[in-house]
Subunit: 369 residues, 4 copies
């Protein structure tokens, strides 16, 4: 693991996720750019001192040389470090499991795509919401034509924790996200908007071809956007709206998506992830539940406990890790849907287009690159 | 009443609403443009034959001349008739209670505004969602500063009944709405979009200054839009998204609004209208209920039954009629918030701007007129 | 109308309900046992002075003798007056629309049953929850065998307004309900318990044969029960639990019922009355909506507005009045399901058995009489 | 681990729970009473062949003798084996983490209590619902007097999977539960009723002193109850209703509890475990969320991810394991609330009293032993 030392939220999440299905063991780390903090963090989580590294470069080099060197590295640093760290490990032939967004900008993303392609190692992007069974269920239903030709997608990721200017003071989580040097050019658009975008693409399949975006910083003094409202046009003629915000009081982590086709509609909410509403036009609405009646193998294969026993965020995240283990050890199979570097590049195209569109007064802007 | 004969949905609604609080009695009508249907309809609803008119012009003239002539007329015709009918009665000094949207186009709306201003009669627009107690509660909370400076408004009006091309066949409700000659230039934007727009303005106060709209007709052969996605900019700097559609399977009449300010947020859903979510940043979310603890006089004054005994659509509509009676008889008081002709003109400006913006590839377009 | 003067909640409800579908006009009343208040109340609601009576006996006598005398009387007094008032009007040949519970005790109920049987007039009991479309939908589904042989019924009516001892001070609504002389022997069991009992019987058909009840007065000094927990045994072998309380903070008027058969289940909540959950074993749960896809004529015939436009308490109540008009004028037809005096007697048997069971330490007690 | 071989649901749950917080490693097992299946299961989950035992007696003996012997054993067998297995390990000085219900009958429970008391090892009962943060939050609120003197408890555990007679055919999970020789005398009362009972006791503190129970087997040919409706009397004068069923179509794992005191109420649903409704009489209802505003340290100390990122069943279970590690290594601290053997004995008293009450026609029966 690179990053994820003391005080980091996402590092602990990755560690639990990696452990939950018993597919990985954490044996090495460069847990902090601060050497002392790295050592303390390593001790706390059971990484032996000889495999706790002061820098990711050293870690990549030494681990690649060890006979019992690591099989894969988790990259859980602030966004601007995703590129150099991923590059170092891919170059060393070590598979990379990297947090999103892929990189700090589109150029890096494209470059990393080339590096990944030429590496013998694998690259998996932890767009963890792809790991929820009912998201997979939705994907299968849309792609198999259950709701007819796609017409509309409403996706939003709504939080409230940046409603007040906490990033301008002390909060570690808030601080780096609000610093363009470390988070990249986007704020909410990158931090949560990319999740919403990826979710819509993951489920629907048809790519977004252009967008009209308006990014806003509602909090005075904030250097990145804390709110993004975006109109989407999909390649197949469908339309959509994406809203990503971190300044909507009363919302903790309200990622949700509604998808409407010619003959039916679907609705999913991340905060209640074990349910999926299915509405066929002309019939009553029905509620599918994880593992429950009417669900598909593709969803049920990634559940662990019976219906009615809620699974949540960590389980969805763990599915990405389990699939990463499968991919690294056996290669990708059709049902192994954990995000690839291509989805990471698409996410960077999305951020890039949104920022360009917003600067041009929300002009329609194609996703390119 | 003008319009509202056999087979008309909204006419029956207006009649119940007018009767519910016992403030009006229906005594005269020109219930259909078809004379025979008008007579049959009159008989069915208890209008005596001598006050059942074959044309609205005759009705306005004769009733204005009667000593016991009507105090007010309900205009419940297809949209394109709102202007001539309202004009006829206003000119005759009879107050008008008119359905929305105000007219078929902006020019007529402005003209009608002048007529109303110079008439001694009153004009009330039945934007009925303004009659829900929890909408009034929300209005008071926003306008009194409870949620701080307004930042974001998410409003949507989502239906599914036009998902299939029923307007191209037989459905009376669907048919005139989908005919630009009778409904005006807008489809969903006029039929439900104006409700969403008015709701946002009614609650928030600050006007929408410009919008970027994309109107779509998803159903082949349909001549008006059945879906509208619109970005909003408010005069005070707030941003918003408005979505109006009639092609989203699984949605019956899902008008909802979420409003976020610097310190709090509100959420209301028309299909469960007795509840209002209130979220103050840094506190747990709370659920206000109609007539329940923590609600204001402005909301409770328009309720009829105790909390927990649900009121609905007809009761909200009846509040507009009760207030119309107050306005006509005693003049408007500050808490008498039923919509005016100005709100109707604003709605026509909204439709007009949306259509122009959409034709210009969703370019930002000011609301003018 | 007898009762329903100033400050009475239920009188105003009956008046709106009677008016809503335009089937009755209120022309006479003995609105209060206090002559002055009766006169003032009459003036307020538009009853002419010559038909505002100082006593119900006089009203029954005079109205029966008038050529244009009333067709029916609404009895909306405290419970202990239901018997003498209903008797007076039935004896005078005037139909009675009476609030529940039927009488103050079982003996009176049986006696009133005989009087009603021998009268040429009709008797309708306003168990208003029978007037909700989705309750009728549930009834039809259970009785037609949709959910298989009935196994379990969970019904509850949960309020909180008597959590504090307000009946011991000033509240008019609370006061008479908590006085055994005026409300009868039961408190919550009579006020809300009878609604829950009637709802279960109305939907399920199979009678409750015996019960084990525990009535409690949680508030010190209260003379009647404010909470009742009751086990039910149905004649067909089904089991049930009924909970009626007025001391559960956070509940306004939470009447709900869940019904389970061998092959399916149903769930309905009064505070959200336009929905009915239907669960067939082995299939996903579905949500029926009033007027929506998959509903029956028996439910849709008593709706007024399209799906998604919520109807509530007053509309359900109005359905009872509309059916009362049908019954009085044309006789009862099969789909005219408004409660009869027999359901009122059954309710009194329920109260009687519950009180006897509770005094006998919750011993199983048959419903007799 | 003893039990939990191929095809066993709860064994896999315990393994994930043990691993999730990285406090235990699974190194030995007697995973099946069938030697071949035990060996295969051991291989599948990574237990080395030399520590895969053919019998629990051997495992207890050998592991107790090893220098690196196990610290604790998870007992995940059918109910009737809980006693002999727990006894063997406690006698060997190895701590026991045992599934519920404690034993097959009350006598064994009391005996095991004595054994545990005299053992130097610890005993933890995996009443996993005690591990949900919002259950702990509710417990603290009730016990600290937030809702005033306790009046009513409504607790239910509702499932549907035994609606059809699957236990009479092939389902492994259903089969042993429905066999009194292996599950003990109770069916639903033991399998889910004990969870509901324990939850009510865990939160409220005041013990249930007597109960009136009616157990039913709705499915023909079933030898144990599949439904239990029970009235509760608490020592402090509070009343309650407990309903446990496995034959209610439409319910997956619907454990819920509502608790009402003199001044407030709480409501929690296992299928949406990250929320807790709090209603103070005279105030609007509020919704606490796991980790959200207004929650206590006692709840937040056992959460892993931020509010809005749902935790579920496995996380709650893992908390029991984490606390077991704390208890075994450092002794029990005040906030370490994982269930003790005393709670297991109380559960057996509950089953015993319920069965005796039911046989005596639901007579009030004290919990003794």
């Amino acid at each position: 693991m690179v990053g994820g030392g003391q005080g980091a939220f996402i590092g602990a999440v990755h560690r639990i996720a990696a452990r939950l299905d018993d597919r990985f063991e954490l044996v090495a780390g460069a847990l902090s750019s601060n050497a002392e903090r790295a050592a303390i963090s390593a001790a706390q989580i059971g990484v032996s001192p000889d495999r706790s590294y002061a820098s990711f470069e050293e870690m990549a080099k030494v681990e690649a040389a060890r006979e019992d060197g690591i099989e894969a590295v988790s990259v859980v640093t602030p966004n601007y470090m995703h590129f150099p760290v991923s590059k170092a490990f891919l170059d060393a032939g070590i598979s990379v499991i990297c947090d999103k967004p892929l990189t700090a900008n589109l150029e890096e993303a494209i470059e990393l795509g080339k590096i990944a392609e030429s590496s013998r190692a694998e690259f998996i992007l932890t767009h963890n919401y792809s790991g929820y069974p009912m998201v997979r269920q939705a994907r299968e239903m849309v792609r198999s034509g259950k709701i007819g030709k796609l017409r509309r997608v409403q996706v939003e990721y709504v939080q409230d924790w940046l409603s007040a200017p906490i990033d301008l003071s002390q909060n570690k989580q808030a601080e780096w996200r609000a610093d363009p040097k470390r988070s990249g050019a986007g704020g909410a658009i990158a931090d949560v908007g990319t999740h919403a975008f990826q979710l819509s693409q993951f489920i629907c399949g048809t790519p977004v071809s252009e967008l009209a975006a308006e990014l806003t910083s509602f909090v005075d003094g904030r250097l990145v956007d804390d709110d993004a409202q975006i109109l989407l046009r999909f390649k197949n003629g469908a339309k959509g709206t994406l809203w990503a915000t971190q300044v909507a009081p009363g919302n903790e982590n309200a990622l949700s998506i509604r998808i409407f086709g010619e003959t039916g509609g679907l609705e999913w909410h991340q905060e209640n992830p074990n349910q999926l509403w299915v509405s066929m036009f002309g019939e009553p609405k029905c509620l599918l539940t994880r593992g429950g009646h009417g669900t598909s193998a593709i969803a049920n294969d990634i559940t662990r406990v019976p219906p009615g026993h809620p699974e949540g965020y960590l389980e969805g995240f763990a599915t990405i890790y389990s699939e990463a283990a499968d991919i690294i050890r056996n290669g990708r199979t059709p049902n192994c849907l954990s995000p690839t570097i291509d989805e990471g590049i698409a996410g960077m195209r999305f951020i890039d287009a949104a920022i360009r569109s917003s600067k041009a007064n929300a002009q329609w802007t194609p996703l390119v690159g």
